[in-house]
């Protein structure tokens, strides 16, 4: 049982940054904007978040700075993709490349420094419960926040008028514009939200996961978050399944290797990707029978004046 508990704790930790980053991207894409800069925004969030936490000694300040840094990065993208109507794929890729370089520069002064990682919740009695105690009542704040975030996003998208308008912009920006909705402003907010989430997801890595900063430490997690958004067919519920499934298979395959079950490790390492793609594709085919991509995703919108 102790091993199962340890595995679940590792899974939650591994899945959380993916879930946070993918939630942000989901909102941006639902408004019709494809931002491929998630990896870049994450790594800048990681550098700034760590720097701020190291200087201030506060994880909370670090997380806020990560969010701010991710948002600022997304504004660069917004200026290009929304303001100047540049191709979104190109500007997103540019943002990632820029972010990787910038984070190295920002983080150069902090490489090799250590901080104390984010504290875990402790409620006397509850956290001490066998098996579920530490899993349910003993996580760090990021884990609880990521779950609240995805529920909030689900509620916003499907239960509020503003969410409906945001989705309308993503499905048909011409109609939304004709109805008098400020398409570009809505997309700007969606992109900024995506940036904030990516920044926080990035900051999670040096603040809670591995409490130090090293250039390139996101190691492709931004791209995985992007892929999760697509395979979850832009639905919050499936995103949760996808993110936790990916984390779970990643950790389980490590344990399977440690236990020496003799399946080639190269295959085991590819399992998280395979399992996630298969499950999410099966889910979306069973329910909707095809693609549910926002119809205007990735297309440039220039309002007629």
């Amino acid at each position: 049982m102790e091993l199962a508990e340890a595995i679940i704790l590792s899974v939650l930790a591994a899945s959380t940054p993916l879930l946070i980053a993918a939630t942000g991207e989901l909102v941006a894409e639902r408004s019709g904007v494809l931002n491929l800069g998630v990896e870049g925004m994450m790594i800048v969030g990681a550098a700034c978040g760590f720097g701020a936490a190291w200087l201030s000694g506060s994880i909370f300040v670090g997380a806020l700075c990560g969010i701010a840094a991710g948002t600022l990065m997304s504004l660069i993208f917004a200026i290009m993709a929304l303001g100047l109507a540049v191709n979104q794929v190109a500007s997103g890729l540019a943002l990632t490349i820029f972010g990787i370089g910038l984070s190295g520069l920002i983080g150069a002064g902090f490489v090799g420094e250590r901080i104390t990682s984010a504290p875990h919740l402790y409620i006397p009695g509850l956290t001490d419960l066998p098996v579920i105690g530490r899993i349910v009542f003993g996580e760090d704040a990021f884990v609880y926040f990521s779950l609240a975030l995805i529920v909030g996003v689900w509620f916003f998208l499907y239960r509020t008028r503003s969410g409906l308008i945001l989705r309308a912009c993503g499905d048909n920006h011409v109609s939304a514009h004709a109805l008098g909705y400020p398409v570009l402003r809505i997309r700007l907010f969606a992109v900024m939200f995506g940036g904030a989430c990516a920044g926080l997801a990035g900051a999670y890595l040096p603040l809670a996961y591995t409490p130090f900063f090293i250039p390139g430490m996101t190691a492709g997690r931004g791209w995985i978050a992007l892929a999760l958004t697509v395979f979850a067919s832009w639905r919050p519920g499936r995103l949760v399944i996808g993110a936790y499934l990916f984390g779970a298979v990643t950790i389980l395959q490590l344990h399977a290797q440690g236990a020496g079950i003799g399946i080639p490790s190269q295959f085991m390492s590819s399992l998280p990707y395979l399992a996630t793609v298969i499950v999410l594709v099966a889910l979306s085919r069973a329910r909707t029978g095809g693609s549910t991509a926002p119809a205007a995703l990735g297309t440039v919108f220039v309002p007629d004046r």
């Binding site: 890729l93 190295g104 130090f212 990643t250 490590l254 290797q257």
Partner: protein
């Protein structure tokens, strides 16, 4: 197609942007470096960068150095190397295994430029190779690990199942068996050289499964930091990682390329540069052991004695007979120990490794 063009253009821009800025002068020897990771990775690339800085200190304004960091292995590397040639570099160090073929290709094209490739096996008239006998350090670590482990189970994080990593695992086990013949090892392949999150997860998995000493052959200090959190002893990799595990780091195999780089640049300046294969052990100081810390005095004494014996050539980690995990004795091609060729192409586990090699 369009996407690909963007990517290529973006990569080119990125490469151009990452050239270390130096002013060109006509009569200085220009020395170029190709790095796999960022110079601040605190591991593999960082150690090469330290050696480059040592060069600058040693030769002052007689040479001029340039480096390109974050150069992916593969076709991009060829462009990056050629870029260094065109910029007038006469001696170029390419510092990762995956640059082997790209380096060879460029070397054939520019016979007047000298190349130094790290950890490969292909050479040419103007392309030398160099690497270190890290397995010697692993043997010492194995002995220490066996002494320090309470339950006799070591946790080993591998990157890729290539001969260098496998000979490391084997040397560790042979060393450990001299202390505890029943020592066990759990191996997890991360299938990456660098992903702090995944390395940390692998370390957690090993500890959760009962390993009580952590060793790694991946590049970030993540595993050391997890060991530190759990209060379990661990070994660093490539560089000094004591900062991430002040109470748990036992030692670390540190790459110290400076002496080699200095001798090669000196040869180039004197006009005596020759294409050679250098495989330096503890005696050449191409790698060194970080101070032995967090261990009882008798363990430290044992480690120091083993180190002295290996340095003096009295102890061969792969001393014959070497028995593989199926119980077959490996042919002894190097006199009383395995030959360099056998170590460089090692693809079997020694007896006592209770794990199947990936892909076998």
């Amino acid at each position: 197609m369009r996407k690909r063009t963007f990517l290529a253009a973006a990569t080119a821009l990125f490469l151009a942007g990452s050239i270390g800025s130096t002013a060109w002068a006509a009569d200085k020897l220009k020395v170029g470096f190709i790095y796999l990771g960022p110079v601040g990775d605190l591991g593999w690339t960082y150690q090469h960068e330290l050696a480059r800085q040592a060069l600058v200190k040693e030769f002052g304004d007689k040479i001029e150095t340039t480096y390109l960091e974050n150069v992916p292995e593969g076709p991009d590397a060829e462009r990056a190397i050629e870029q260094l040639v065109r910029a007038g570099n006469k001696l170029i160090f390419t510092t990762s295994f995956g640059y082997m073929d790209p380096t060879l290709k460029v070397a054939k094209k520019y016979p007047n430029v000298h190349f130094e490739h790290c950890s490969g096996y292909k050479r040419d008239k103007n392309m030398a190779t160099y690497s270190s006998r890290w397995y010697q350090g692993r043997f010492i670590q194995g002995q220490i690990a066996a002494k320090m482990s309470k339950d006799g189970v070591l946790g080993y994080i591998g990157s890729f199942p290539i001969p260098e990593v496998i000979s490391g695992i084997n040397a560790t086990m042979l060393g450990a068996q001299t202390v505890n013949p029943n020592i066990k090892v759990k191996i997890i392949w991360a299938n990456t050289w660098f992903d702090p999150g995944k390395e940390a997860d692998a370390a957690k998995a090993l500890l959760d499964q009962g390993a009580d000493v952590i060793m790694q052959h991946t590049d970030s200090p993540a595993a050391m930091q997890i060991a530190s959190e759990r209060g379990k002893p661990a070994f660093g990799q490539d560089s000094e990682m004591i900062k991430f595990g002040p109470k748990v780091q036992l030692t670390s195999v540190m790459d110290t390329w400076a002496p080699y780089y200095i001798s090669r640049v000196k040869a180039e300046l004197d006009g005596t540069w020759k294409s050679e294969d250098t495989w330096g052990g503890l005696d050449t100081k191409m790698f060194q052991m970080a101070p032995y810390t967090n261990m009882p005095d008798d363990v430290k004494k044992m480690a120091e004695e083993t180190q002295a014996a290996i340095t003096g050539g009295k102890l061969q980690p792969f001393k014959c007979p070497v028995v593989d995990q199926d119980g077959k004795t490996v042919p002894c091609e190097g006199g009383d120990h395995l030959s360099d060729k056998q170590i460089l192409s090692m693809n079997f586990y020694v007896k006592g490794v209770d794990d199947k090699m990936p892909g076998k």
